[in-house]
Symmetry: D2
């Protein structure tokens, strides 16, 4: 399997590092328009060819797959060209700038019998895998809410707002865990510095009274990566900044007895043990790229395919619409 | 100064304990309809008369002021009767069930030349006083956002939702700190158990691009009481659950230079020292009740008067309206 | 059961508060030499007689038991007088100033058929009970070490050093948990301010290679109450300052295989789940005082009796000897 | 400047990575006896020659300096050979297995006019530099104590105990900060698994009542890297595991007034702000290796020279003696 990487900015080096560490993988070419990035790539990987032209990657007859690790507004054109030239595509999140682009790429890949994988890295972490397992096993019970706080100081993206920058993580995780699509969403937020929202809040109404909320912020003095999930049987806290014990499962709950007349005793709280399960170690991106290889080798459709990427873009698009109106309810 | 207390449930005992510890204050009478509460009150304070009838307090000719520490739906009738009988009123938050009630009480107090104080206890904590001082001194600079998370397991109120239960804390603090009224609000949320929302999110748009957000939840496995305030010059985190170092001030910031052409260098982050200032100790409720006495003695209007209480109720009322529509923008 | 309390300084009020809350208990008399303490006691408990003379308590014919909540140098004389006058004794830790005193009190109580209970409050906390249960069940396996850090700013005692002030907590807990007496001890430390050590370190060698260590410090800027217990099967951390999750049990371990020649593979680490068990709630002192009553009623010897108190004093005495020589090994 | 590296186990890769990132430095040769390590080195650095023979490095005529990153029992022979062959030496801590070896190396280097630098990496961290600055400026005042806890699960060294493995960090830091040598030490500890102590405690008595204590443990379920420093004017906590705010300075103190007769008021506590100063970022090892180059270029004696390394070994040697006797006081 031979691969070319377009984009060697912030995330690209991680992709290349993991690709080169995988057995039977060969990074043949790295493309980046920025001379500084080219220099960094060349110094780190003397054995890999570096080019300023993405078309060198796209048109190469030796390359089987292309990793598109560039700003979101370039995804569509690069992925389209790669697919048209018979390459499988691994593309950075969010998948595309809008749903129309996403749909076109999915159709194109289908026609060409090629795979698209959207880089929803978090789905390959030990934490998300464990949470998924807990939900599937019924350990949490019916889900009540999903509440994520993802704030820090910077990084400002120049072409997108904080919602498009940070929320795709949560939206892809929710897509994976909740296994349902939201019915309606409300997004609020404010820009303070460069015209793009740097603070934003997103509420998603799912079927069966599941509510989700995402708090994203580029202007926070402290970094927070905390998600609370409340269920009928158990509740959990996932703090991704903890070195160990990232996921804590609380055997806690509330039961309301509709016992007429005995008003004071209606609410029963249950408070039991807390368990922080051992999580699989290993770099998520490495696992994801290994899975990308396997999917291509086996002709298997990845679960984080173009459709998964599209579902995230659909929500982002609706969120942008809601945000423009300072928070109107938008049905999906 | 002689005082009667109506309501000896969860918060009433704290009010009585602090009132009795103040010099020159005399709690003459405690009223509670619940026999169990009467028994608790009588055991704790053998020297104070306990009654099941709030009218005993309201009609007493010896009493100068009444503390109304009962569920919100009873505030209006009790406070009205107390004012009509010439008593100053200290009333639990939220002030009233709706704005109409609040306005009537304010007018009545004015006619009778009596004081109303709404129990916005947090305004008397060392943390809020310090934050207020920092804002007034300009240490934070222009405020960008106020973001509060106030979640825990229970306590379910039977007559109100989580927004009316927990958000008044934040709304009264914002009212005190931001010194402006919101222009519009959006509230989202969901009920899962008893018909009242147990998870809710509130966004408030203030003038000059200040945005505020409140995350309240009765179904969280962990207790969180954290507020982030971002400003042009500094940012702060107030974690009320910390034993010490509740307020941390970060000398951090972002500046965007509109320097055309040097795209990559536009954003400058500043990261300096963190300071956790020493905060005034002492129980907030005691300070507040002492201030109540002083206001009455000196004929001074408290800053947490009926108007302050009304501003909070006004937002809650608009939030309820927004919440009913699952999150429409409501102008105030 | 009628009781008299001698000493109403820092801890005495907690003893009285809990005694009065127990059913069928009557605090008849509080004695304290300090007029300020007398005033506080009288204000808090208008129904209880207060006296400056401990002999009023000791000689009272109505009183069944005496709680001695005074500085350690007074314990012997007060407890002796109480026992001689036919009273059961509840005495603050450490039991006595030296082992000779402790032995005399134990003998006296035995002759008079009276009970002594030493106030080792921590043994009645949910945390210590749970740890004890885990050790008894074999969940921890063979114990390797017990390591406690108990530091804070102040409180300086005027008559004793930091070892006699803070270490009795750990020594009584170890006595309860390890169920063995140390063979030898080493104590190091330093005084900086008033001639008494304000920083001290204690190592205890127990049979079967169990080692214990206690770090006590009156000059720490932060309060720490953390104990690590390492065992062959599991390890635990008890952080008494955590609101919840005070005890965390780690399914972690190390196994060394004596496989000659395969040097690098000798050490195997095991890293599994972490469990924070739900702990019994309730105030420890209340449980202890209730147990005191039961022991007297049933003629049962408490496990925290004079002998338990004496074992702690024996170690403190040896530690003082070691400390004087700046840390020589002292056999017990 | 051309350098050869002997030892490519756990720490060696970090040394090579930093050396190659420095300008004007050339790693010519990497030696390691282990084939697996050779393979790792060759894969990571295709441009650097790798050899199983340390003598290839030592005898190379092209090489100016040798980095000895091997187990401690090999340091003396390798460093001696390197010095005899005219190479400057950068050697992993602890410097040597005993003081005699250390003295011989120092003398040899002096005769040959070569530099020895002992890898006391922590001295180049932003945290230690800041603490050093605070002490030098007098911000802490007279030091009372230095108390370090450095515990985790593993890594077991096969040739040395936990004291020789972990305590050199603290001993080198104390040497740098306290600027005095201890007068006497006491070491206690216990082995549980392989004959080497896996739990150990070290008390150091310095002049002027400064006391230091080091708690090292290979069998802790949690990783702790916390140092408390108490001084007359301020106190600080250095938690090296914090992402930010590693060093917290507390404006806290205690003053004892020898005012006869007013016993209760003798102790005054002062509690003020806490400051977490911004620390210099950057990898400590890179700074240290850059300093190594500068020292050689300029003929400057590094502060972490052989003498600094020897002072640490001297304490370790005395600690071993004390430990053998289960904790006797050993004068230095």
């Amino acid at each position: 399997m031979k691969i070319g990487v377009i984009g060697y900015g912030y995330w690209g080096p991680n992709v290349v590092r993991n690709l080169t560490s995988l057995e039977d993988s060969h990074v043949l070419l790295i493309a980046d328009v920025c001379p500084h990035a080219q220099k960094r790539a060349q110094k780190a990987y003397p054995g890999i060819k570096v080019t300023p032209n993405s078309s060198d990657v796209i048109l190469s007859s030796e390359i089987d797959a292309v990793a598109v690790i560039t700003p979101v507004w370039t995804h569509y054109e690069l992925a389209k060209a790669a697919l048209e030239n018979g390459k499988h595509v691994f593309v950075e999140k969010p998948f595309t700038s809008n749903t129309a682009q996403g749909e076109k790429l999915i159709n194109l890949a289908q026609q060409k019998n090629l795979k698209i994988m959207v880089d929803h890295t978090f789905l390959f972490t030990g934490a998300v895998r464990k949470i998924s397992q807990l939900l599937d096993e019924g350990a949490i019970g019916k889900v009540y809410y999903y509440d994520s706080t993802r704030v820090n100081l910077g990084l400002f993206q120049h072409d997108i707002n904080v919602l498009w920058d940070l929320a795709p993580h949560d939206l892809s995780i929710m897509d994976y865990l909740i296994k349902a699509e939201p019915e309606a969403i409300v997004a609020t937020g404010q820009n303070h510095l460069n015209g793009h929202e740097d603070v934003a809040y997103l509420t998603l109404y799912y079927p069966e009274k599941i509510i989700a909320h995402v708090n994203v912020n580029w202007l926070s003095p402290v970094k927070v990566r905390t998600t609370l999930i409340g269920g009928e049987k158990r509740m959990l806290v996932w703090n991704d900044l903890e070195a160990d014990e990232k996921v804590k499962i609380y055997d806690k709950g509330v039961k309301i007895t509709n016992q007429a007349g005995v008003y004071e005793l209606l609410v029963n709280y249950r408070s039991g043990d807390m368990l922080a399960p051992h999580l699989e170690q290993g770099e998520a991106l490495r696992q994801e790229l290994s899975y990308f290889y396997n999917c291509i080798s086996n002709g298997q459709e990845p679960f984080n395919d173009g459709c998964a990427g599209l579902r995230v873009v659909k929500i982002l698009e609706a969120a942008s619409e809601s945000l423009k109106k300072r928070g109107s309810l938008v049905y999906l």
